[in-house]
Structure formats: C-alpha cells, structure tokens
C-alpha cells in the first residue's frame, strides 16, 4: 500500500537539546497510525515539523511520494494535512460556521457568505456522522462537540491526513467512544489519521500500526494486531511497567471523615449535590466514580471550602469543618490534589520552590514575622524534587517549564508532605503517561498504608478500580451505591454511573448491546 506521509530521518534540535533524533514515520493511506511516547518524548515536535510550525534540521518529508518542503501551516493545509489540536483553537463567542471559515471566509458581493458555508458544513457533518449544528455558538456546546468542530474545520479545508493531538485528554468516556466511531468513519471515507497519544488502551482499540518514540529517538513501528499493551508500555518507557499497582489488603480503622445530607448549589443556583452522605475510614481509599458533571466538582469545592454549603455537614476527626475558610480546612488536616493543576494547583509563573511553599509559606519555618525564609523553602523543594522524582533543572525553574507529570509530582509532594489526615485526589493522573501514573498510584496507596484516608475522584474507571478499596458511585448529586472494589466490574460501575441499579439479567443484556 502506498504511503501518504513519509517522514524520513527527521532531526530537530533546540539549542543543545535534540528533540527529534532521526525519527522515521511512514503512514499508509487509510490507516490510523498511532504515535506513542511519554510526555516530552518528542511527539509534538515531530508533528509540528509535519504541520510546518518548525523547520527540521535534517531529514526529508514526502507526501504521496513527493518530496515537499513544508514552510508553514498554510503549505501543510494545501498538501491536505489538517491538525486537530489538543487545546482547541476556537473563538468562544463565534458560531460553528464562523469558526470554521475563519481565515478563508467565502464572500458574495463583498459580504461573507455564511449561508452557503453553513450548508457545506452541514453536508460534511452529515457525511461523517458528526452531528454538528453549524449555527451553534461555541461557548454553548460541549467539549466533545467543540472537538468535532475542529475535525470539521480540517475536513472543510480538504484535509486528507488528519493529525489528532491527544484527542481524548479532555473528553468523557462517552465522548471518547463517540470519537472512536468518528475516527473509524473517517478511515472508511478514505482519510488517513495520525493519532498522538500515550494511552495504550486507545491504541489497541483503534490504531492499525503504532510508531513508538522515546526521548527523541524512534524505537520502531509495530502492527497493533501483533502487540499488546505491556509490550507497548515497555517500548515507550524503556522498562517494564506495572499496570495494576500492587497493593496489600486494606486495613481500615476508625472513621475520620464524614459528610451528612450535603446540599450544594452551583454558580447558577442549581442544586448539584442533593443530600449526599459519605464516610471514609483511616487506612482506606474511597473512589468516587461517575460521569463528569454529576456533582464531583461541587463536592470537592464544598469539602475544601471553595464553595458554600447550603445545608448538611462535613466533619473531619469529629470536628465540624462545614463552610470554614479554605485555609482553616487545610489546616484541620485536608490535603487536596486539584482536578485542574494549572488553574488551582500551581502558580505557573512561580518557581518550583515557591509552589512547594504555596500552602505553608505563612508559617514557620518557611517564614518568620512575615519575612520569607527562602533558604528553607528551597531546601524543602530540593527534598521534594528528589523524593518525588520531579524532573526539573532546578528548584528555581518556573513551574510553567515542567511537563504535566512533573507538575503533578510537585503538587503531590507538597500535599503529601503536609501529612494530611484526608488526601483528596481529583483526577490525579489526567493527561499523564504510564510511568507517571504508576508513580502517583503508588504514592496514594502509600498514604493509605500509613493510616491516612484517601478520597479519589476520577472519570477513568481503570484508575478507580485499580486504586480504590471501596467505590462510591455518584449520580446526579447523590451516592447511589457503594461497592467493594474487589467484587465489582467495569460493567457494573458503568451501569451504576448511568443511574441504573439493575438485576443480573438485564446487566447482561445491556452489556451485549454495548458490545455490538
């Protein structure tokens, strides 16, 4: 079969850093070709070379057998290469159509011809089963839908080869399933796809072949049908990786944290937590499973004091902490690894050291009488850097410069070192590669084994099943069931997450449906 894209011995150097060291990537027509690598392995650099954002320092790019020189993204567009970015490039208060035609607006007698463009977009959308309303405003539609707009944008511009950059990072499980169907549909229509990812499960599910890169070097290309996740993981990381973290039987002790009849409203005044009850004991990890938007965010915000509790109570060590100031709650013994590490977890323009001190800068030994002791702060930072294996040039490096996994390690180090009785971990491994995930899971279990309580909130069922001792399923602001992690399955959780408590028979039926 002919190759639509050939990147031969591509080399890209930034200063002294070799981002791509003679990497070769050959994509056949009509295949989904995965590009696998850890964070910072050089996947994005390679794709930016293909998309014309970077100029290679060596090597050759061929499109449909012809050698090309892709000097900027417009050239890439003309060659039929389209990119679906991880962070969407959309104007929030424009409609779908306006976003798609942006930059090449069709005109009719001097004014923009929205109507014809919308019809064309609706036609393409129908053709690929995207189900996008051309007149919808971006800020009104879901993240999954926004991604489809990005896909439409590339198709509208005649893309034959679509690059998906970490497309599932921000999607819910439901949306991921839909995206996979869309990708398969695209292939049926004769498009080719390059899928950048570090999620092995997705590769196994959709990709035909996979090219692995590690620390800037091409490790090789394998057929997905001839490999398995374990092999891919060790190719990517360069050592064997454990998927299920080894853990001892939990040994729960007395209750440390309790939520009773909690009622919380969101910013619009809609009740998002409706009489929720929950309790966690020392030495156990309680996982909260649920589809995004069922009150998880509001629950965490209510516990940590960022959102007002309307009624009900939250107690830690038998002390009422309901509606206290965030600082009082942290001081009472709660650590929090926030869901959005850039928004809540870190001050990106602060150094690693300053971020380590973010929760404790105001008391000794980090400061005295209002004057900071940077010597102590940076000493502590060095300690966390070495203990938590944070890959950074130094403790003075800005948090912004670290990769996602390393940023997360800084946060985990900071929170765990404060030795909280209850550690809340919200989506702690979102967007991280297998190596970092393994590390973080181990740390959570270690906290448990040290007799602390851990509350894990995640949309990834694998993670919930793997790490938790008990699993509480949240649905529309209530815990609808609590199950033992050892005696449940992804299927059972999936149904509970959809709000169904069914008999065994109907479970099997709906499973079969899902499998079709």
């Amino acid at each position: 079969m002919e190759h639509v894209i050939e990147m031969l011995n591509i080399r890209k150097v930034f200063g002294n850093f070799v981002a791509n060291d003679n990497i070769t990537l050959q994509v056949k027509k009509g295949e989904i070709h995965a590009l696998l690598g850890e964070n910072g392995a050089g996947k994005s650099t390679l794709m930016n070379v293909l998309f014309g954002l970077y100029q290679p320092d060596g090597g050759e790019i061929r499109v449909k057998g012809k050698s090309v020189n892709i000097t900027d993204p417009n050239v890439a567009n003309d060659l039929g290469i389209g990119m679906v970015h991880q962070h969407f490039m959309l104007v929030d208060n424009f409609t779908v159509t306006e976003n798609i035609i942006l930059g090449s607006e069709p005109t009719k007698r001097g004014s923009i011809d929205i109507k014809t463009a919308s019809e064309e977009i609706a036609r393409i959308s129908k053709n690929y089963g995207l189900d996008v309303d051309p007149y919808a405003v971006i800020s009104d539609i879901s993240v999954g839908m926004q991604q489809r707009v990005e896909i439409l944008k590339t198709l509208y511009r005649g893309a034959e080869i679509l690059i998906f950059d970490e497309p599932t990072a921000t999607l819910t499980p439901q949306e991921i399933t839909e995206l996979i169907q869309i990708m398969k549909r695209l292939i049926e229509e004769g498009k080719s796809i390059i899928l950048i990812t570090h999620k092995l499960k997705e590769i196994m599910e959709v990709a035909d072949r996979v090219t692995v890169i590690r620390r800037g070097k091409g490790i090789g290309t394998v057929n997905v049908s001839e490999t398995n996740p374990t092999e891919l993981a060790s190719l990517m990381v360069g050592r064997d990786v454990e998927f299920t973290t080894e853990k001892r039987q939990s040994n729960p002790k007395e209750e440390v944290f309790r939520i009773s009849d909690l009622l919380v409203k969101d910013y619009r005044g809609v009740e998002k937590i409706k009489g929720l009850n929950l309790s966690i004991r020392r030495g156990e990890i309680l996982g909260i499973a649920g589809v995004d938007g069922n009150g998880q965010t509001e629950l965490i915000e209510a516990i940590t004091g960022l959102r007002k509790v309307e009624s009900g109570s939250i107690t830690l060590n038998n002390k009422d902490i309901t509606n206290l100031r965030p600082r009082k709650i942290t001081e009472s013994g709660i650590g929090h690894i926030p869901q959005d590490r850039h928004k809540h977890g870190l001050v990106l323009n602060y150094s690693v050291g300053e971020n380590v001190a973010l929760q404790s800068y105001y008391h000794a030994p980090y400061s005295k009488a209002g004057v900071l002791n940077y010597k102590v702060i940076y000493e502590k930072a060095r300690e966390i850097i070495s203990q938590y294996d944070v890959r950074t040039q130094s403790e003075y490096e800005l948090a912004r410069a670290l990769s996602g996994g390393n940023q997360q390690k800084v946060i985990i180090g900071r929170e765990v070192e404060r030795n909280p009785d209850l550690l809340i971990a919200a989506q702690p491994t979102r967007g991280l590669d297998v190596g970092a995930i393994e590390f973080i899971h181990k740390r959570l279990i270690e906290q448990r084994d040290n007799g602390k309580a851990v509350l894990l909130i995640s949309f990834e069922l694998d993670e919930i099943l793997n790490v938790s001792d008990r699993i509480a399923v949240i649905f529309e602001g209530e815990i609808i069931d609590i199950v033992d992690a050892k005696h449940t399955s992804e299927q059972e959780l999936g149904l509970l997450m959809a709000g169904q408590k069914l008999t065994k028979d109907s479970t099997v039926q709906s499973l079969q449906k899902e499998g079709e």
């Binding site: 960022l306 100031r325 942290t330 001050v347 323009n349 001190a357 973010l358 004057v371």
Partner: protein, 347 residues
C-alpha cells in the same frame, strides 16, 4: 551572550536608535540635531544647577512609577496614580501649613498624611473591585477628576485664592547642603524618600509573605484562593499600598519642590507618566529607577531645547516621545540580538 549583559545592552541600543530617529526628524524639519542634542545634554548635565534639577524631577517619577509597578505585580492597573498624587500633594501641604510642630514630628506627619490620602483614594477602587468586581481602570480614571476638582475647591475654600500659603519650615524637605552644591537648585530630601521606598517595595515583593501573596494573586487568583489566600483582601491591600506610594509622590512636590499647593487647570501628568516609567522598568522596583531616571532626565533636559537650540516645544515633545517609544519597544532589539547570535552560531 549572557542574559545580564543583554539586559543592559538592550535599553542602551534602544536609546541610541531613538536618538538617531529623533535626529532624522530634526533634520527633516530644518533644525540641527547637533544643536538640539547639545541643548538636551546641557539641559540635563549642563551644570550643577541642572543636575540638581534633573534629580529633583526624577523624584516624583520614581514614586509614581513604583506605585504603578506595585499594583501591576498584583494584576491591577492603577491609572489613578495621578489623582492619588494630587490628594497626597494637598494633604501634605495642608499639614505643612496648618500645624505647628517640631520638625521631627512635622515632616513624618505631613508625609504620612499624603500617603494616607493617596491610600484612601486608591481604597475606593480597590474595595469596589474586590467586593463588586468593578473594573479598577474605569474607577481610577474617574477618581482622578474627583481628586482634581475637590482639591481645587478645598484650596480656594481654605486659602481664599488659587495658591495656599507656604508650608512651615518645619515641614520642608529642603536640604541646604544640596542647595549649596547644586548652585541653589530645588533638589530636596525627597529623593531619599523615593529611594527608600524603592528598597522597601522591593523587599515587600521579594522577601515577605505579603509580597508572596500579592504576586500569587496577580498571577493566578484561582490557585491563590485554593491555597487559602484571601484574594479580595489582597486586592484592596495592593491598591492601598500603590495609592500610598502615589501620595508620597505628591508629598515630595508639596514639601520639597513647591512648598505650597495651588489649584490646577488640569492633571500634573506625573501619574500618567508613572505608567510609562513602570513599563520601562519592567514593573520591577529596581527597573523603575532606570525608567524614572530616563523619563525625568529627558523631561527636564528637553526644557532647554527651545531656549538654546530654538526648537519649538511641540517638536521637542515629539523627539522625547520617540526616544521613549524606542525604549519601550525593547523587544525589537531582543529579536535583533537573537538573530545576530544565531548567525554567529552557524558560522
């Protein structure tokens, strides 16, 4: 090229390029750039008197620039330095002429009054921003007009004319030693006040928990809230400190340069120039020294250009603006230097 060398080189290159473009404009308009720049030079460094006056001019710029830079570090845009300076000026002068106190009490009291007046003036937009989310830019601009007209009215009400009486000797920042060595310029002790303020503000921002919080709030309000900081309180504190500094700038005018307060037909301009000073200094307290020096020197020195070189005032304003424009566009030179060093690497 090392980073520190580059940080020095870029502003110097920028000033030189600004001077060259300024020269071209003078040539086109039929004036001699050599005469023009000689006049500028003499206006700044010509003799001891002009040097003294130049430093005097730099003093309020230092404080005004510092005020803008401080607010900016917390993510606030204080356009109200002008108004805060005006109320500070009035407050210092009022304390200066209406109280009779020994010097060691009178001067600190007058300075404190100016700072508090400025702080109060900034408290209003600060609390509105923190409590109701009102944009501080709009409020501070409006507060400038309120400051201007209220102080004018107060001066007329108290003095019965457009100029107040002089402040008492005990409140004056006059420095006889400075006067003697600078041929009786108006250079006064306010420069010490300004430099102390630079050091104090640098210390607050870099070494204290207060500065740590203020900068964190400036960079990322969500993370600050999550870390248990009181974002609203920090916004108010930042505005009040910024206004306090602006008030001190007014104090240096009231107690040092003029020793009285008079009604004004319009804004003094120092507060607005403070924005440029802060930006030139990259919102860094030490950078503000550079910005204020450049601004003050050009502002004062250019007064000599119409007299000595016969260049019209309007033309002078254009030339000064161009020089500052080039300095503000420092990044152009950054690019230029990057290219230069890249070429060398290739070779």
């Amino acid at each position: 090229m090392s980073k520190s060398l580059r940080n020095v080189l870029i502003p110097i290159l920028a000033v030189i390029l600004g001077l060259i473009v300024g020269a071209i404009i003078m040539l086109i308009s039929g004036y001699s750039p050599i005469l023009g720049y000689t006049a500028l030079w003499n206006g700044i460094f010509g003799d001891l008197y002009t040097i003294g006056e130049t430093i005097r001019q730099i003093t309020p710029y230092l404080l005004a620039g510092l005020a803008v830079a401080f607010a900016f570090k917390t993510g606030l845009f204080n356009i109200g330095v002008e108004g805060q300076l005006i109320v500070g000026w009035f407050a210092a002068a009022y304390v200066g002429f209406s109280f009779e106190l020994p010097m060691y009490l009178h001067i600190p009291l007058a300075i404190l009054a100016a700072g508090l007046a400025g702080g109060l003036w900034a408290f209003v937009p600060g609390i509105l921003k923190a409590r109701l989310g009102v944009n501080e830019v709009v409020v501070t601009i409006m507060m400038n007009y309120i400051a201007l007209h209220i102080t004018n009215a107060l001066i007329r009400a108290i003095a019965g004319k457009d100029t107040s009486e002089r402040i008492h000797e005990t409140a004056s920042l006059r420095n006889t030693f400075f006067e003697e060595i600078t041929d009786y310029s108006r250079l006064h002790n306010g420069i010490f006040l300004a430099l102390i303020a630079v050091v104090v503000i640098w210390f607050i921002l870099e070494k204290t928990t207060l500065g740590f919080e203020l900068k964190a709030v400036g960079f990322n309000q969500d993370a600050s809230k999550y870390a248990g900081m009181n974002v609203k309180k920090n916004i108010v504190i930042s505005m009040v400190i910024s206004g306090f500094l602006a008030g001190l700038a007014g104090a240096t005018e009231a107690l040092g340069t003029f020793e009285y307060v008079s009604t004004k037909g319009g804004m003094t301009g120092i507060g607005f120039d403070g924005i440029a000073v802060a930006i030139l200094g990259a919102n860094n307290p030490l950078g503000v020294i550079f910005g204020a020096t450049l601004f003050g020197a050009l502002k004062y020195g250019s007064l000599n250009m119409p007299n000595e070189a016969g260049i019209p005032e309007e033309m002078v304003s254009i030339i000064i603006a161009i020089i500052i424009f080039f300095v503000a566009c420092g990044f152009i030179f950054q690019l230029f230097l990057d290219k230069l060093s890249k070429k060398k690497e290739v070779k």
